[in-house]
């Protein structure tokens, strides 16, 4: 099943023409409306009118997360604010988050793309879709919500958290499709086992999971325990949110919605394209965004292009599930965390050394993160009250700045890193996906 077969199954030849037309007008608008890109084009001596084939894409500059931060909040917008009808923000970044705007047309188009993702994952208008993504600045909740409504399905905006209630809703409202993070799906499966709910007695058929890294083993586990067909999908706030790429029921890679996004895979160190099928960093260019167009945005996500065509009939190329990050960012309970943010948060609290390590574990289905940090004096170990107070302050600061909770463990000075301090690994990820 397709939502927009005239696009999803269009010939590669027609697609190339459409991409060229859309990219040419995007470049024109970027050079006219976004000072950041106008400067970049001038520095490179690049004339957008000389852009004649998709091959020329390689000549264009990259856009990085740092560029977005420097132009915070509205510097990258290609339309005046009064044309923006919605703002979302990327999860868990420090002071300067990334603010992404949508015009009326952007919101409409987003709904269509999310509807494609849902359709590819098996959902039809007859389904009851429970969206257990956070509704808020995070794009997951609203993105899927509008898509499912456009599709004509019955939408339950249950948002995240409160597992007992989620399970109750699933039973009573006869939910047939679950949309959330894969780890939350596993957590719900565990909670069902705890309260004695038999997944076979539920109406669940489909699971659409995204917003974090997961594996084939995890898919098998989820499908087995929830008795559903689970598909992977991919999106990011900077590009739009959910709707960028998604698996079809063949489950052999995620189809990129290529009529709206151009995907490249590059070597993160050289910036050059990798050989077809090789692993590298995903770079995305938006072709139709009005408010927040992005040129060659470096996602930091590692994947590879899957060669060959998909038996589902879609002609859009496929990327592999996200295989990791090209930087040190990690995802904790759906929130993107950079160690630098953790460091910045720790530095605001007196009494500690700028030495830390983040240890990630998976307990059951949920991720936990412990920050090990060196106390600057021994007094914190001599006085239990002082110790507890410092730990509490650190935990509170971390949660408010990074946006997700951490456990904090004080360690003695110079105990974390031997010899030259702080050269050891900042993040130890013990989670098994």
């Amino acid at each position: 099943m397709y939502f927009e077969p005239e696009y999803e199954c269009m010939s590669r030849d027609e697609l190339a023409q459409l991409q060229l037309e859309r990219l040419q007008s995007t470049l024109f608008r970027l050079s006219r409306n976004v000072p950041f890109y106008r400067r970049k084009f001038a520095d490179l001596g690049f004339d957008p009118e000389e852009f004649r084939t998709l091959e020329d894409l390689k000549k264009l500059p990259f856009t990085t997360k740092a560029d977005l931060r420097e132009n915070y909040p509205y510097g990258m917008f290609a339309v005046p604010l009064r044309e923006v009808v919605r703002l979302h923000s990327s999860s868990g970044t420090t002071g300067k988050a990334v603010v992404c705007g949508y015009t009326k047309n952007d919101v409409k188009r987003w709904a269509k793309l999310a509807a494609r993702v849902l359709t590819a994952g098996g959902v039809t208008r007859d389904d009851v879709v429970q969206i257990a993504f956070n509704y808020g600045l995070f794009t997951g909740g609203f993105g899927f919500h509008y898509g499912a409504e456009l599709l004509g399905a019955s939408v339950i905006p249950s948002s995240s958290g409160n597992s007992r209630r989620q399970i109750q809703i699933m039973q009573d409202y006869k939910t047939t499709a679950l949309v959330c993070t894969p780890s939350y799906a596993l957590y719900l499966a565990g909670a069902m086992e705890d309260v004695g709910v038999n997944p076979n007695a539920l109406d669940l058929k489909w699971g659409l999971f995204g917003a974090e890294c997961w594996s084939e083993a995890m898919r098998g586990d989820i499908q087995e325990r929830l008795k559903i067909t689970a598909t992977d999908n991919y999106g990011l706030t900077e590009i739009m949110g959910p709707g960028v790429a998604a698996e079809c029921l063949e489950r052999g890679g995620l189809h990129v919605n290529e009529d709206h996004f151009l995907a490249e895979v590059i070597d993160p160190h050289t910036g050059q394209p990798v050989a077809p099928g090789e692993k590298g960093e995903l770079v995305l260019t938006t072709l139709t965004k009005e408010a927040f167009p992005m040129l060659r945005f470096r996602t930091g996500d590692l994947t590879r292009l899957i060669p060959g065509t998909c038996p589902c009939g879609r002609t859009f190329l496929r990327i592999d599930r996200i295989l990791g990050r090209s930087d040190d960012m990690f995802t904790l309970r759906g929130v993107n965390v950079f160690p630098a943010q953790v460091e910045a948060a720790l530095l605001t609290v007196p009494g500690i050394e700028p030495c830390y390590q983040i240890v990630l574990e998976r307990e059951g289905a949920l991720d936990t993160a412990t920050v090990l940090v060196e106390a600057s004096t021994d007094e914190y170990f001599d006085e239990i009250k002082k110790h507890q107070q410092l730990v509490l302050t650190l935990a509170k600061t971390l949660e408010s700045i990074v946006g997700v909770s951490f456990a904090v463990k004080l360690v003695e000075k110079s105990s974390l890193y031997a010899g030259d301090a702080c050269k050891a690994k900042r993040v130890v990820d013990n989670r098994k996906f």
Partner: protein, 244 residues
């Protein structure tokens, strides 16, 4: 069905169309909108072979027509209704129409041409009533119908329509646009429509392109263009500053 890739057109030193890329799929009505002198008519005449592009490529039904003679392009199934209609005023309505079938006229096709003539009269009863009248005596709206009828006489798969609403009364404009919708729905005709009347054009179109000083600056589904503030401000006559 029709595909343009990086088409450039120069009139002497004037760069009239810059790197224009557009496509029209079978059965689509696509609107090309833009202000005076944006290059809309130049682009249409380039497609129909009356003007030679200085660069780029034009494909019709997957065959290159960039350097084809206009009459060959008509025979290939692409018919142009020019701006200002250009009917032959002293000639009768019927003769004007028969001229439209010139590209395929022969002894064998005569009976079929006759059928097509009756077909056009069925589509535009008013032309049937005035078949022997001189075209110059028709009203503006009737002349526009005649120009479209003449283009249909070559049995085109696709129609290039240049400013069909120009100089016509609002009611007549509505009739002409209704007719375009009918041609698409009943005959599966593909249409590339150039219009200054952007709102009317986008309302009946599937997709649209916005041309500005020879460049395609925007493109997309017609409903999105109608919602686009730049289009509203520049071409749909909405004064957004005053509204707010």
């Amino acid at each position: 069905m029709l595909r343009l890739k990086n088409v450039d057109v120069h009139y002497g030193k004037v760069h009239a169309v810059r790197r224009a890329s557009l496509h029209v799929r079978p059965g689509e009505v696509v609107a090309l909108i833009g202000g005076n002198g944006a290059g809309k008519t130049t682009l249409l005449t380039t497609i129909s072979g009356l003007v030679r592009p200085s660069g780029g490529e034009v494909l019709f039904m997957d065959a290159p027509i960039t350097r084809s003679a206009p009459e060959r392009i008509v025979r290939a199934g692409l018919s142009h209704v020019p701006e200002g209609r250009h009917v032959f005023k002293p000639m009768s309505v019927e003769d004007n129409l028969l001229l439209g079938s010139y590209s395929r006229y022969s002894m064998q096709t005569r009976p079929r041409v006759q059928e097509d003539l009756e077909d056009v009269f069925a589509l535009f009863p008013v032309l049937g009533e005035r078949r022997s009248q001189a075209a110059g005596t028709l009203s503006g709206g009737e002349q526009q119908m005649l120009a479209i009828g003449r283009a249909l006489m070559s049995r085109p798969a696709m129609l290039l329509l240049d400013e069909p609403s120009m100089g016509l009364a609002p009611q007549v404009v509505r009739d002409i646009f209704k007719l375009i919708v009918r041609l698409k729905a009943e005959r599966g005709l593909t249409v590339l429509l150039v219009e200054q009347n952007a709102r009317a054009a986008l309302k009946i179109a599937d997709r649209g392109y916005v041309l500005e000083t020879g460049r395609i600056v925007l493109q997309g589904p017609a409903d999105e263009l109608l919602e686009n503030r730049d289009v509203q401000r520049a071409y749909l006559g909405r004064d957004l500053d005053r509204e707010e």
